[in-house]
Amino acid sequence: MLNTYGNIFVFFVMGFLFVFMSMALVKLIAPSRPNPEKNMTYECGEDPIGSGWINFNARFYLIAILFIIFDVEIILVFPVIVNFRDNLLAGGGLAAFIEIFLFVTVLFLGLVYAWRNGYLEWIRTVRRQLRVEGRVTKVKDILSEEAEGRG
Amino acid sequence: MTNAAAQYFRNIKDAVRTTAKGMKITLKYWLREPAITIEYPDRLGEGRTADDIVQDRFRGFLRLDSSICIGCLQCMKTCPIDCILITTEKIGEERHLTRFDVDQSKCMYCGLCVEVCPTSAITFSKRFEGACYDIRELCISHIHQPAPVAKPKAKEKEG
């Protein structure tokens, strides 16, 4: 029998098919003339220096962790919110409100804590790190390497 | 603390106010201001040609009036990048211009040749269209068959 989730599945498959078919069409009618220069990584017309796959300093990891905390807690508050109206009409509105309020307050305190500790500042951490490390490659080397490579 | 809080709300207010102001201006443009686009090349308006959209003094392609050219080669000599080539030949008694080529692909439209011309034989036209598939088309010959040069007398007249 029909299931709404069947729709989702079909949609997902159709989305894939859509892309697949257009790509197949591209294969059919678009030219393909690869050469090493063309398949080189674009970096503003220069030889790329090093790979793009590096250990990326993503300060947003922290943001991601914060996000997960918030998201999980929001999910916890979902049932209360959905039932808030029913509770209200049934006369239990105050309790539901207090419940939401407590939840949100706790979350909010968490945010304030993160804020106060500077986890929401992006620049501060980096400035400090810059001072600490001072790992700076000599640009001279890069330029001379390039010249060698070309010559 | 109150300062910080006041600042916090002032930030929100400023952001909203200035954003709204900016968006009001763009909305005004969307609704009211007409486009100023000149629809070159095909919808310039009644009876207007491409030459009409440039100003009078526009320095377009060089133009030669071979009837008053005295063949003094001043323009060729004064051009810093040698984009004019003139050859003259004595055919019979008179000097004839046999070649007057202007390399428009190289020309920098500076006007030195026009200024130096004693008879105003070489002038700027208003033509600016010259896109082509072959660069050789841009070497424009102004003389197709040898033409006698004008008498230098004209020079004195022009002053």
């Binding site: 790329p48 220096i49 | 100003q55």
Partner: protein, 374 residues
């Protein structure tokens, strides 16, 4: 707080990059989004103009000065003509002086429009930029009717200017500057300059103190943005600038610290208004008729000597150091441009900022590639 250790990313910004304003290249050493430093690499537009000057007669070099700073070609023409005139002691007719000043100031307006607009474009605001281009079209028409070209005007000649004003020029110019000063700039500021997002992007970014600015030989609006009141039009007046009444806008930390990107930006906005003031006065004072050009001998040879003349270009001091050996070509011509020292400065101020800030900083210096490379 834990420090995540990360590799240093070295990436090229330019020579083809939307926000490097021509062909500049910056080698960025970044740590994620944060930049450790940016090393400018210039010379992608090195055309050897100084060498060409040695190969050409004095008058024939004039069109090349257009291309030194293509946004302000008349200012460059002006500077070069002034240098040769001062060396050869040529008198310039009164009217030509006025026409030079008017056209140079108009060029300044046009140049600043591109400078301001391009900065805004780099910050993602396309509409103000296009509006600035729209006003530039009017300016271009004006200049075209005066000089015959839209960009490389080649208007100033040694000993005067090439053409007299066309009919109706004064009226059109007056209307243009009125529109700029009273309508367009107000709207532009509402739309862009006073936008909170824009202010936040610009303030306290790329701060240069006055000492630093002088130390690094910054000139023009970049120097004035740091609060140094120095304008060659006032301090070392040339041509007829001492007849006009105008102010020198300096940065004073309008929204953030003195000498930040916003100050440099705002100095340019105010300079547009000052230019309008100068043009208005010049239009009043300009004689109705008169010669516009001193006749020079066909083979023009200035006396032997050396001279250094500075003029105020939209990008700051435009200095011509001319050495003449008495021949028909210059012996050596050195062109000192504002963008040259500004480009060197970009590397200095862009340590420890974000990649997005680098774009702001480059834009706020308003560098033009051929001015750096020549």
């Amino acid at each position: 707080m834990t420090e995540f250790l990360s590799d240093e990313m070295v990436l090229n910004m330019g020579p083809h990059h939307p926000s490097t304003h021509g062909v500049l290249r910056f080698i960025l050493q970044t740590d994620g989004e944060m930049m450790r430093r940016a090393i400018p690499d210039v010379g992608f537009l090195h055309r050897g103009i100084e060498k060409i000057a040695e190969l050409l007669p004095y008058q024939a070099f004039m069109p090349y000065t257009d291309r030194i700073d293509y946004l302000a070609s008349i200012c460059c023409n002006f500077g070069y003509a002034l240098t040769v005139e001062r060396l050869a002691q040529i008198e310039v007719p009164e009217k030509a002086e006025y026409l030079r000043v008017i056209s140079a100031e108009l060029t300044r307006i046009g140049s600043h429009f591109v400078g301001l607009g391009a900065l805004l474009l780099d910050l993602g605001a396309v509409t103000p930029f296009v509006h600035a281009l729209r006003e530039r079209e009017v300016y271009n028409d004006l200049m075209e009717s005066l000089c015959g070209a839209r960009l490389t005007h080649n208007y100033v000649r040694i000993g005067g200017v090439s053409y007299d004003e066309p009919p109706g020029f004064r009226e059109k110019t007056r209307r243009f500057i009125d529109h700029i000063e009273y309508e367009f700039l107000d709207e532009f500021n509402e739309l862009a300059s006073f936008n909170t997002i824009f202010i936040n992007r610009m303030k306290n970014v790329g701060v240069i103190t006055a000492e630093d600015a002088i130390e690094h030989s910054l000139v023009g609006p970049n120097l004035r943005g740091s609060g140094v009141k120095h304008d060659i039009r006032k301090n070392d007046p040339y041509s007829i600038y001492n007849r006009f009444n105008f102010d020198i806008p300096v940065g004073h930390g309008k929204f953030g610290t003195m000498g930040d990107c916003y100050d440099r930006y705002w100095v340019r906005v105010e300079e547009v208004m000052e230019s309008c003031r100068i043009i208005r006065q010049a239009l009043e004072l300009m004689p109705e008729t008169g010669p516009v050009r001193t006749k020079l001998p066909r083979v023009f040879k200035p006396p032997k000597g050396e001279i250094y003349v500075r003029t105020e270009c939209p990008r700051g001091e435009m200095g011509f150091y001319l050495i003449s050996d008495g021949g028909k070509n210059p012996y050596r011509l050195k062109i000192r441009t504002g963008s040259f020292s500004a480009a060197a400065m970009i590397g200095e101020v862009s340590q420890g900022v974000m990649v997005a800030d680098l774009v702001t900083i480059i834009g706020s210096f308003d560098v033009v590639a051929p001015e750096i490379d020549r």
